[in-house]
């Protein structure tokens, strides 16, 4: 049964990729035409800053989900690094030291996840729900419900600034660079090949000499480090270190990744689709916000998109299967 379904599934993926890119383009065009202020250079900057944390964290998340695991703790990692950043700044450490420390902290938090998943062999869903609570809780322990806001302008203005007089934000360069690296690693290196193989059949991957646990462990470390970096950028962007920074962001990241055509069951997905998913999500949110929809209500859109991104391909597949069955019956009866 699976033997004849596989090629269709494969063609479905590329079809989905194409569809998502087209939909994203259409949404961008409609938003530019119909929503006031959407098409301005200033708003472009905001849009990029809005999607930056989602896009950054979605890069390693794509790898993690393709190996068949998940990391729900990323937003809490972001919150904890933000809190630690604020706390260290309060203690008078220089920013140049704090930033690498925060990225390192993210990596360590990722390693905690990786340890539980690979060494103790626990289900990543349960582990990262646990660390989601743990890391966020620690963030509150570190900073309570206070905020740290007096960050040096040189850092905050770099994050919010643009290249020279162009409307291109500085952080976009960083994002493009990291996305390019992630894309090449996933689609054109032995590591990427291993990621797909592990997600599609972990045992066969192990029998082929792939060090599965090592691979997963390092993916969690990278996921944590990138979430830490996102925490730094988030804090500097709003010039505010708070324990609840990025609360609930894991939903947007997972939604973007699934929307981008990555299978929640692992083994399938592509980075261009994920980036399109991120842009689609961020554009919708940005356009709706410009149309005076509140943040909390925006979550309806994210939640629905998340479900639809998995539901739609499934429905399409069952519909096609049903049509095929009917055709067969008709052929047999005639």
């Amino acid at each position: 049964m699976s033997t004849d379904r596989a090629p269709r599934l494969l063609s479905r993926i590329s079809w989905w990729d194409a569809a998502i890119i087209v939909v994203t383009a259409v949404v961008l065009a409609v938003a530019a035409g119909a929503v006031d202020n959407f098409g301005t250079g200033r708003n472009f900057g905001f849009l990029v800053l809005d999607l930056l944390p989602i896009a950054l964290i979605a890069l390693p998340m794509t790898f993690v989900v393709i190996t068949g695991e998940i990391d729900l703790s990323v937003a809490s990692t972001l919150g904890l690094t933000s809190a630690v950043l604020g706390s260290l700044w309060n203690r008078g450490l220089p920013m140049e030291t704090i930033i690498p420390l925060c990225v390192l902290l993210g990596a360590v938090l990722g390693a905690v996840n990786g340890l539980f998943v690979t060494v103790f062999k626990l289900p990543s869903l349960a582990v990262t729900i646990g660390t989601l609570a743990l890391f966020r809780g620690l963030a509150f322990v570190v900073l309570g419900d206070s905020a740290v806001a007096d960050f040096p302008a040189s850092f905050t203005s770099w994050v919010t600034g643009t290249i020279g007089t162009t409307p291109i934000p500085n952080v976009l360069v960083l994002l493009v660079l990291l996305a390019a690296v992630a894309g090449v690693v996933l689609h054109a290196t032995p590591v990427g090949r291993a990621v797909f193989a592990v997600g599609a059949n972990e045992q066969a991957a192990r029998f082929s000499g792939i060090r599965v646990d090592r691979l997963k462990f390092w993916l969690y470390v990278v996921s944590g480090a990138v979430a830490g970096l996102a925490g730094v950028l988030w804090t500097l962007r709003y010039s505010s270190a708070r324990a609840d920074n990025g609360l609930g962001l894991e939903l947007a990241v997972v939604a973007a990744v699934l929307l981008g055509g990555v299978s929640i069951f692992g083994g399938r997905g592509a980075l261009p689709g994920v980036l399109a998913g991120v842009v689609l999500l961020a554009t919708l949110q940005n356009a709706l916000r410009l149309s005076d929809v509140t943040n909390e209500a925006l979550n309806v859109v994210t939640g629905v998109l998340l479900i639809v991104s998995v539901l739609l391909p499934n429905l399409g597949r069952s519909l096609r299967a049903a049509l095929r069955r009917r055709r067969h019956r008709v052929v047999r009866q005639t």
């Binding site: 729900i129 743990l134 966020r136 809780g137 322990v141 994210t302 998995v310």
Partner: protein
């Protein structure tokens, strides 16, 4: 049977019941011991912890969490998860709050039923997406967690229903009691007992375990997997809706944010209570005990004057601890079974099977 004389000698007698049930019991016993230790230490530090008011607080807090945890346990046992319970609680609390605000004469029973209905519908939506949309429960309920919450915000905006706007009868229910036991606690106990008996002694309950233990086998054996999935999610949703009413009664103030983040505590209560994340095992008693433990921890933090911010970190740590312990027990069990199998194989001495 005539041909039984050809049957070879009985091969082995295995005793599995005693050690297996002792493992399960050990989990619930462990929680009770942890509870006793926690209560003991806290009381030594601050004797007020065992005062009537303090115990009442813990029990009231536990009843809401336990009702949610029971629903969660039912869903997890079928190898699914329901992350939307906090949002359903919020939606139900606000719906019922508005309802009694507009109809002050409404009996409390009607409010409770309304809450059950709102939650049940939310649960059915989850179930339909999981079963007929073939979307994993994690994705569906993560999505509806935000969708339901967002819908509540869309409806409520910044509006808050305060105690002054709620009828006295409704709020009085929080203090009312049956033979000295608060109604909230009575309702929670009824829910726990009913769900516990259903899961243990009725076909439907056993089928839920079967589905979680092996989904493929459940289909092959002819279990109505679709219907049962609907039942499980509708139960979890309805209980979250009920919990929403209890929440409104207990706190008297309801806004769109009610129950935000509860899903973590609920999953923690179930998992800490020994409900295996991959389905097929665990009990609602365990989940309820887990809820009691979590609530007691929260209250003892307050009594011991420890920063409340530790609460969430402890919840996270407990989840990790619980799944790690489960894993350890499973490993040890597997090893015990393997050694036993080796011993019996040695006894059996070979076979004739080269072909």
């Amino acid at each position: 049977m005539t041909a039984l004389d050809t049957a070879p000698a009985p091969v082995r007698v295995t005793s599995g019941a005693s050690w297996w049930s002792s493992v399960v019991r050990a989990r619930e016993l462990g929680i009770v011991l942890a509870l006793v230790a926690l209560v003991g230490c806290t009381t030594v530090a601050n004797p007020r912890f065992l005062s009537g008011q303090s115990i009442r607080d813990i029990l009231l807090g536990t009843s809401i969490l336990a009702v949610l945890a029971v629903g969660q346990a039912v869903v997890i046992i079928t190898r699914n998860i329901d992350l939307s319970v906090g949002a359903v609680l919020g939606l139900s609390a606000f719906t019922v709050g508005s309802l009694v605000q507009d109809n002050p004469g409404l009996p409390v029973v009607v409010a409770l039923l309304a809450g059950l209905a709102v939650g049940g519908v939310c649960g059915l939506v989850n179930a339909v997406l999981v079963r007929y949309g073939q979307v994993p429960a994690l994705v569906v309920t993560l999505g509806t967690l935000y969708a339901y919450r967002g819908a509540t915000y869309l409806w409520a905006g910044g509006q808050q229903i305060t105690a002054d706007e709620l009828p006295r009868d409704f709020l009085g229910f929080a203090d009312a009691s049956l033979l000295g036991v608060p109604w909230l606690v009575v309702i929670a106990v009824v829910v726990i007992v009913a769900a516990g008996v259903l899961l243990r002694n009725y076909r439907l309950g056993r089928e839920l375990y079967a589905m979680g233990s092996s989904p493929e086998a459940a289909t092959l054996v002819g279990i109505k997997v679709g219907r049962n999935t609907l039942v499980a999610f509708a139960t979890s949703g309805a209980l979250a809706g009920l919990a929403g009413v209890l929440f409104a009664v207990r706190f008297g103030t309801v806004d769109a944010a009610a129950g935000t983040g509860y899903e973590l505590n609920v999953v923690a209560a179930a998992v800490v209570g020994g409900v295996a994340v991959f389905g097929g095992s665990g009990t609602v008693w365990g989940a309820a005990l887990g809820a009691l433990l979590l609530t007691t921890i929260g209250n003892s933090l307050a009594v011991l004057d420890i920063d409340q911010f530790w609460q969430q970190a402890i919840v996270g740590a407990l989840i990790l601890l619980a799944i790690a312990v489960d894993r350890l027990v499973a490993l040890r069990t597997a090893r015990a079974l393997k050694t036993r199998a080796l011993k019996t194989r040695a006894l059996k001495k070979g076979g004739s099977h080269v072909d």
